[in-house]
Symmetry: C2
Subunit: 200 residues, 2 copies
């Protein structure tokens, strides 16, 4: 059985859980508390030397890291990843956008809020707020007149961007000025097999 | 002909240039000075609403953004991208590692040095130095006993990580403590069709 090293609050972990549930693939979930250093133990670093969840352990013991690479691995050959070269590359474009322009701002402010780090890191907050809003602006523009991010259908690009966008308010981002994003969030949440971020 | 919106100093741009040269694909290069706001004009934002180079314009006018998604698009069906599901996902794992754990630290300190931003952003430097070294540590460990990052052969994972690693010294990173990385840099530079970052 697949084994997922995970942290329930993590949107990156949720991406993988959500797709596994939608694909109907059973998995064993190992919860690691990142705030207690459980991803920096020798045993875990042997699985992922970068010390991060999610990490997926395959049945032969091979470990795959990076949430969006895991999504790609699981989605290959399914309806969650298009088959043609250009749409596949556009799925990747949005997944790299998510990890570079979106997650480091929107997910980080949520994490700092939950973990109580906002005050000590207050000097860094305005830039993260500015660039988080810039990422939302790019998403809003793209979603005007489009149902999903790539290939005109629900794909792992949507899963990757949904994970932290739907809880952006927990990091202080107000989605009221983003009607296209809010309509897209509802479309994603209505997909078959959808589960909430609180579901292990 | 393919058209590449680019900035010669950019390692992200270099990734795409390097692969295009190795594939022998002719392209037109449009230089945009990111320091003069040339990636934030209405004309360019119509091509890439995220306002970043590299952006690849295909012959039908479609634009593809994100350096590593462009690499994937160009490498599909060539020897620079393996065909099997797990090695392909491992290529992606390293490309996401590059954009999340490597580039924001190692490339950013090089850019701040080149652009003269180091002094005004000095409070941010120690963390970027620490996390840049952590990324190099992960690479060094992985490359001990392996010739390349994935699939035991040169791939776009190596191109993605080579781009900013081989000029890490320009951001103040000393590669002397990283013998496996230095041997890998030499292997990458010896690949057929290799060109330097200064080659447009």
């Amino acid at each position: 059985m697949l084994r997922l090293y995970d942290y329930l609050e993590s949107g990156n972990g949720y991406k993988v859980r959500l797709l596994l549930h939608q694909l109907g693939i059973p998995f064993e979930r190992i919860e690691l508390d990142i705030l207690k250093g459980e991803t920096r133990t020798p045993a875990f670093l042997a699985r992922n030397p970068n010390g991060r969840i999610p990490t997926l352990e395959l049945e032969d013991g091979t470990c795959l890291a990076e949430s969006n690479a895991i999504l790609w691995y699981l989605a290959e050959g399914t309806r969650y990843l298009p088959e043609e070269r250009l749409p596949r590359s556009q799925v990747l474009q949005w997944m790299f956008f998510e990890q570079y322009s979106h997650e480091p701002n929107i997910a980080t402010l949520r994490f700092w809020t939950h973990a109580g780090f906002l005050a000590e890191r207050s000097a860094l907050v305005p830039d993260k707020r500015k660039w988080g809003r810039a990422a939302l602006d790019v998403m809003e523009g793209h979603l005007r007149g489009r149902p999903f991010f790539a290939a005109e259908r629900y794909s792992i690009a949507d899963i990757a961007l949904y994970a932290y966008t739907h809880v952006a308010d927990e990091g202080g981002f107000d989605l009221a000025p983003y009607p296209a994003i809010r309509a897209w969030l509802a479309r994603v949440a209505s997909q078959s097999g959808h589960v909430p971020i609180t579901r292990g």
